[in-house]
């Protein structure tokens, strides 16, 4: 990790050894640019980069590419998410070139939630390549300056390559190897699924460190502050791959309804504190779902402000 | 025992209700029967092995077809009784006739040969 691969702010922050703090923003269900700009304003200056989700949970929204471009105009750095569900290799490569041309320097490579979860379950999915192959493709385009077919790219896109990791999905014993494979494929940084089960994550990170994976890649721990016990319950039951311990739901239920949001934030802050000290964790990815306006307060109380200028 | 049962019932004998076919039931309805029922041995007491249970599944299957066709599924029934229950036989016959009477004549028009 001597030279910069992409020159993105996120890359520089991580390379300089700072504890990274990234945010997330879902594009609007429509072309409501003003609303998007409002949400982005909350995040500006409080995070190192903002993930722009790509038809998250398979619900149609403004394209993550357009959302990312708008974000650049608003003065924040996007982490452009791309799923393999909606594009074949042609569209993938052309969108990567387009993204780079618009100034996007970070990409998160994902398989994508299955369309049956979304609002167009009748859709045909693509899955021409999978997330592992997408990571390798972005790397090939960047490092070799070649398309998938080996043809030269006239000005290759230099992306800082991200990948996801869900330590809470099954089979658990395999997850660290899958992570290793993604790093091998070319992932520069990892953003994990929302973490709630700290015991399991501690165990997972121990495995990661034992394998030395944290030295090859920056790992950002995913945190989602719970707004209330109902949200915890819902996510536990209906969001695939979520591991929400009963103790957390109990803790939220244990306080007055009006205080549950504060309790959720407190838990998230405790997590951030622990991640700051946890070996192998290079930062936090704060996914305040439809709660972007709380990010300044959360960042402030987490003691991650001001964000480093690199 | 000189038990009487409704004259409307036409009996077709089979060695075991396992011999009853979906088509026997369907064809009866097709030919204008207002109802058709299978009288098998008590469950668990099939003289062969499970003929009456097979018949039960076939009756259920035919009920589904009738439902799909907008015909009352109650026009087809499965009953279970032992050969020693003559009184019960007459009772079932009366019960079935009563059920069918309540439903009225079959919507499958008679005399319109295929």
């Amino acid at each position: 990790m001597s030279e910069l691969k992409s020159g993105s702010n996120l890359e520089k922050v991580l390379k300089a050894g700072h504890f990274a703090f990234t945010g997330e923003c879902g594009p609007p269900k429509g072309a409501n640019v003003e609303h998007l700009k409002e949400k982005l304003a909350h995040l500006k200056g409080h995070v190192d980069a903002v993930n722009m989700t790509d038809n998250q949970t398979a619900v149609v929204r403004m394209s993550s590419l357009a959302g990312s471009a708008i974000m650049i105009g608003e003065g924040s750095e996007p982490n452009f998410q791309m799923v393999c569900r909606d594009r074949n290799r042609l569209a993938i490569m052309s969108d990567i070139l387009g993204a780079y041309s618009l100034g996007i320097r970070n990409m998160l490579c994902l398989s994508g939630d299955h369309q049956t979860f979304g609002n167009h379950p009748q859709a045909k999915n693509v899955h021409d390549i999978d997330s592992m192959q997408l990571i390798a493709l972005v790397k090939k385009m960047r490092d070799e300056g070649k398309f998938m077919n080996g043809e030269d790219i006239d000005v290759p896109p230099k992306m800082f390559i991200g990948a996801a990791c869900n330590p809470f999905a099954d089979p658990y014993e395999y997850r660290v190897y899958r992570l290793a494979n993604k790093i091998e494929a070319g992932a520069d940084f990892i953003q994990t699924q929302c973490i709630f089960n700290m015991d399991k994550f501690r165990d997972f990170m121990k495995k990661v460190v034992d394998m030395g994976l944290h030295e090859k890649c920056y790992i950002l721990a995913g945190v989602t502050p719970m707004k209330n016990a109902g949200m915890a319950n819902f996510m536990s039951k209906f969001v695939p791959g979520m591991d929400i311990p009963e103790s957390l739901i109990k803790r939220l239920k244990g306080v007055d309804k009006k205080d549950q949001a504060e309790e959720g934030i407190k838990f998230a802050l405790e997590q951030v504190e622990e991640f700051k000290e946890m070996k192998g964790v290079a930062g936090v990815h704060m996914m305040a779902i439809e709660w972007e306006h709380m990010v300044p307060e959360i960042a402030e109380r987490a003691g991650v402000l001001p964000r480093p200028a690199v | 025992m000189r038990l009487s049962y409704p004259a409307a019932v036409k009996i077709i004998q089979v060695p075991c209700t396992g011999r009853v076919d979906i088509l026997h039931l369907l064809n009866s309805i097709e030919d204008g029967a207002d109802g058709v029922y299978v009288a098998g041995c008590l469950e668990g007491e099939c003289h062969y092995r499970d003929g009456n249970l097979k018949a039960k599944r076939k009756v259920e299957y035919v009920k589904r077809i009738l439902t799909e066709l907008g015909i009352e599924p109650d026009r087809v029934q499965m009953y279970n009784l032992s050969s020693a229950q003559g009184a019960r036989f007459a009772e079932i016959a009366a019960e079935m006739v009563e059920t069918v009477k309540k439903l009225g004549p079959t919507p499958v028009k008679k005399g319109t040969a295929a």
Binding site: D128, C165, Y177 | I22, L23
Partner: protein, 225 residues
Amino acid sequence: MIVADRKSLEEILAMVENNKKILILGCKGCVTVCNVGGLKEVEILASSIRIARKKSGKDIDIDINVLERQCDREYVAGIKDTVGDYEAVISLACGVGPQFLSEMYTDQTFYPGVNTTFFGGATEHGVWEERCAGCGTCAIHLFGGLCPVARCAKSLLHGPCGGSSDGRCEVNKDTECIWDTIVRKKMEQGRLEDLMGVRGPKDWQTARDGGPRRSIREELIQGNI
């Protein structure tokens, strides 16, 4: 084999709504084995349609027949003398049948009576499951003999996605996560390294993406060997 499901009576009745004389044609191949288009099913469908039509007061004359296979021209030719006697024909074969019929008898209307679903087998009596996607480039030996192209909802080639839970697929809890099974098998065998590394992108030209496919065997074109 090819697995299919019978279309609803409602759909079939609507197809032949205006016909007074039809043929229902079964097939002794796959659809007989998966109990959807053999003699039995042909008879049941014929009776069901007759009941429905008598109910609506619009009689219908139905003949039935079952071909050895509807995917072979020599068997399809077997009805050449009678096929013209009907206003329409319902085929209970897989999607191949009504097409071979339509190609040979261009003036006749052939309705599909079944929905062809997948290549698979019966895992228990009355339950069929998909096993093959017919992608044209079989590589199941790389995955412990199990096919992620057909059996993973996302056709992933590099392990289970983040939605795998307790060996079940995120799309449907009744569906096995095939990647969970593949991974566990490899771990038990101590051969997890088989799943590491990045496979080259799959060549989908041999799948449907390359357009309709053809299989040509020169030696057979010249005659039986």
